[in-house]
């Protein structure tokens, strides 16, 4: 099945939303979550997660901690912070606004 690219600028939104649901997740889990919940429509080029995660660390939207996976491997786990939650709200409302606007334009004859 052909997977669509995610629209530019929405990667942060997707990651934030995923984390608020899942608590603590590492990179693989985040990527899987997005893919599954979007029913395979959205496919994140997995490498591009990591620069985005770094950015979010700098901005203070997430924190990271080393832990161990179920298979006893070392992985870095990310969790949302309070500013991150705020950022999520802001991004969601912006996304809604833009989507509604686009919808209006498309639907108008």
């Amino acid at each position: 099945m052909h997977q669509d690219e995610i629209p530019p600028g929405t990667l942060y939104l997707l990651i934030l939303r995923t984390l608020i649901r899942g608590g603590e997740m590492h990179g693989y889990e985040i990527a899987n979550s997005i893919q599954q919940i979007s029913e395979d429509v959205l496919r994140v080029e997995e490498g591009s997660l990591y620069p985005a995660l770094q950015r979010m660390l700098i901005k203070g939207w997430v924190t990271a901690k080393w832990g161990t996976t179920a298979g006893n491997r070392r992985a870095r786990y990310y969790r949302l912070t309070a500013p991150g939650r705020k950022q999520l709200e802001a991004e969601v409302s912006q996304f809604d606004r833009v989507m509604q606007a686009i919808t209006r334009v498309i639907q108008t004859a």
């Binding site: 990179g27 620069p51 770094q54 700098i58 992985a75």
Partner: protein, 888 residues
Amino acid sequence: MLFRRSQFDRDLEEEMRLHRELRKQEQIERGLSPKEAHYAVQKRFGNDLVLREESRDMWGWNWLEDLVQDIRYGARMLKKNPGFTVVAVLTLALGIGANTAIFSVVNSVLLRPLPFQDPERLVDLRETEVAPGDYPLSGPDYLDWQAQNHTLEAVSLYFWRQIMSASGAGEPEPAGVVPTQANFFDVIGVRPLLGRGFAPGEDAAGKNHVAVLSYGFWQRRFGGNPQAIGKAIELNDEAYTVVGVMPRWFNFPWAPDLWTPLDMSPKNLGQRGDHSWNGVGRMRPGVRLAQARAELLTISKRLEKEYPDSNNNVHAVLIPLQETLVGDFRTPLLILLGAVTLVLLVACANVANLLLARATGRQREVALRASLGASRWRLLRQLLTESVLLALTGAALGTLGAWGCVRLLATAKTVSLPRVHPIGLDGFVLVFTVSVGILAGVLFGLAPALQVSALNLSEQLKTAAQVVLSPTRRGRLLRDALVVGQIAVTLALLVGAGLLLRSFARLRSADLGIHPHNLLTMTISLPDAKYPTLEARRQFFDQLVDRASHTPGVEAAAVSSEIPLEGGSNGYLSVDGETDPNLSNQLVGWNYITPDYFRAFGIPVLEGHAFTAEDLNRTEATASRLHDLYMAAQGSAPKIPPDLELVCVISQTTARTFWRNQDPIGRSFHWDNMRVIVVGVVSDVKEYGVRAKMMPQAYFPFTLVLSYGGYGRLTIKTRVLPTSVLGEIRRHVRGLDSGLAMFRARTMGEVIADHTQDAGVQASLLGAFAALALLLAVVGLYGVMSYLVTQRTREFGIRVALGAQQASVLVLILKQGLKLSLIGVGLGVAAAMGLTHVMSTLLYGVRPTDPPTFIAVATILTVVALAACWIPAWRATKVDPMVALRYE
């Protein structure tokens, strides 16, 4: 982040590895083979290294790390090519170092504000007179300004720098003394290092025998002893008490050794028409110069109405003090700065050409890096970093050289620069140097970097390493353009230097109206204490002239108050019986002379005669009577009886100005209420300076000036070498008065040199810079020509193989070189024509577009350029066709 980069890298790598493995596992579970799974995951992930770098980039420290990496890489590259690096660094050191040196002078002299408190409020006070220009103040005018103005917070009066004999704490030595009003140091805004300045009231007769020492004098005479305060010192045999010492940097005005208080009594300050004083003022905070000027003009006009005889056309002039002290140096210093900037451009062009030559060799390396993923911007940045590194290394070396040169300049006696601030390199100059280095690096590095990084990857990776890749057409054009530019700039600089050199020669040989050879001159100053009367002084000087004239080897001896080039006194005369306002109250130059003055200086008497014995007798009688009258009047203007007469000799200009179509002999004019009869006319002499406009001149018998003080300049005309009679003359002086010092014994040649040395220094400096530019341009031209020959070796080989004469190859190359040179010379001439107007104030007797200079410089430069092309051309003829044809 900066320092734990490798840790960061390892962590990220581990994180992404786990992700990939988990994904691979998932794909295998889905049914792919391990190999297929591996590739699928690789595809999904993307370039690992790039992702890691991107992640790291997010942190924003990258630029610094990149910079460090670029610098290290650049340094390695430069070390690999020591020949190139050394040449480039030396070239840049010369160019940047020269800029640093000149800029440090510009900084110290022009840019830094005066070291006084709130220096922008300080103004120099002067007055206008009927003659154009501005002049010293008259005492009563100054007092009226002081009393009546509201825009100046305070004003202070000071006299000229006088040479006095200082003794009492060691051997007698001549010392420069400036008498000032008591508030002088407060008005200027400077605190003494030790002790105090002058107290109010100390500037009155009887109270003013105190002195403030300069730092240098304190060190010299008192060994820097803090106990110097309260000690006594003798000036011209009068005792003074030391009350203070000034800081090391303070030397206003005229770098004196001591300051003493004036006698501010009206008697000492003189008449209203007597302009002998200097003044400095401090404007109130918030007052603008225009306001202060307007107010003082109003006061001046009021005084003009009140005292029409003395104050006609006399108005106050206010000039910012900084302007007075450094204004004269602005033009020459800025011209030198411009010249040295041009030299730097020439140097940069050379280094740019060197880089372009190397560019072709570096293209493989650059192509390799590009294939590994470096963006064009990244490559450009790295190449520019290398250039800037080169430039900064050159700047560092150049700064060392500049430091040495500036030290030399600052201590050189022959260079006259305002010493308000010590001249040297300070923080600001270093910042300037670094900025210039960075700019230069970008400037000369940009074009080569752009060229190198313009890539055609596959082609460049394919060609074998030994091939000298032919430069693009744009590259060739650029190199030629750079050389043409260098030659043009060099021509402009050489023309400038040539003009200054010619001016200097003209100045040195200018006709002063005298015979300047075999003349010796010195200053004699008689202390008032030892020679209190007119008679005593007259006797001394009469005897001195007599003994000097009879010394073997001496043709004539005279004493005068001024000598040519060092005049300064002037006075007003009103022609008798003239109603034309232009001929009354005119400013005329003044000189008091003994009769042999004209003979000593070789000034021809055109009409009438110099002073006869009878003239002198009458003058002596008049002088005595005048002296008595002034003593009796005690400061106010004495009543001059109508029968007092004087005689004088005038200059040609005076005769032409005042008695144009008449015989001036026997005519009279009035000076200070006295009738003066003209007995002779002499030819014009440049009394005020070589460049100064010729002013009307009048000569009076020397006795007249002795009532003001025993000061005169002894001048001797010798038959033999002037310095050989110096010993005898000294003996005569000692014989008349053993304690007397003679100051500044110089030959007339030395006097002329003193007055023209500025022009000499300017010409030398500009000449040095032009020579430097010439050297660099020649090297540049040589380099380009050599490169051209190397490029076309194969072609020349073919030509020779086909039967061309060696000479024709030579001519071919010379023609190419000549073409470049001529274009450069042409452009340079055009540029110079426009630019030399800037220096017209520095020129004397030479026009800015002086054809002989232009022609000479253009010719010399063309010949030198051809010579530079000769060796590469000659080498081209030696090309063995077999070798050349095999040369791939």
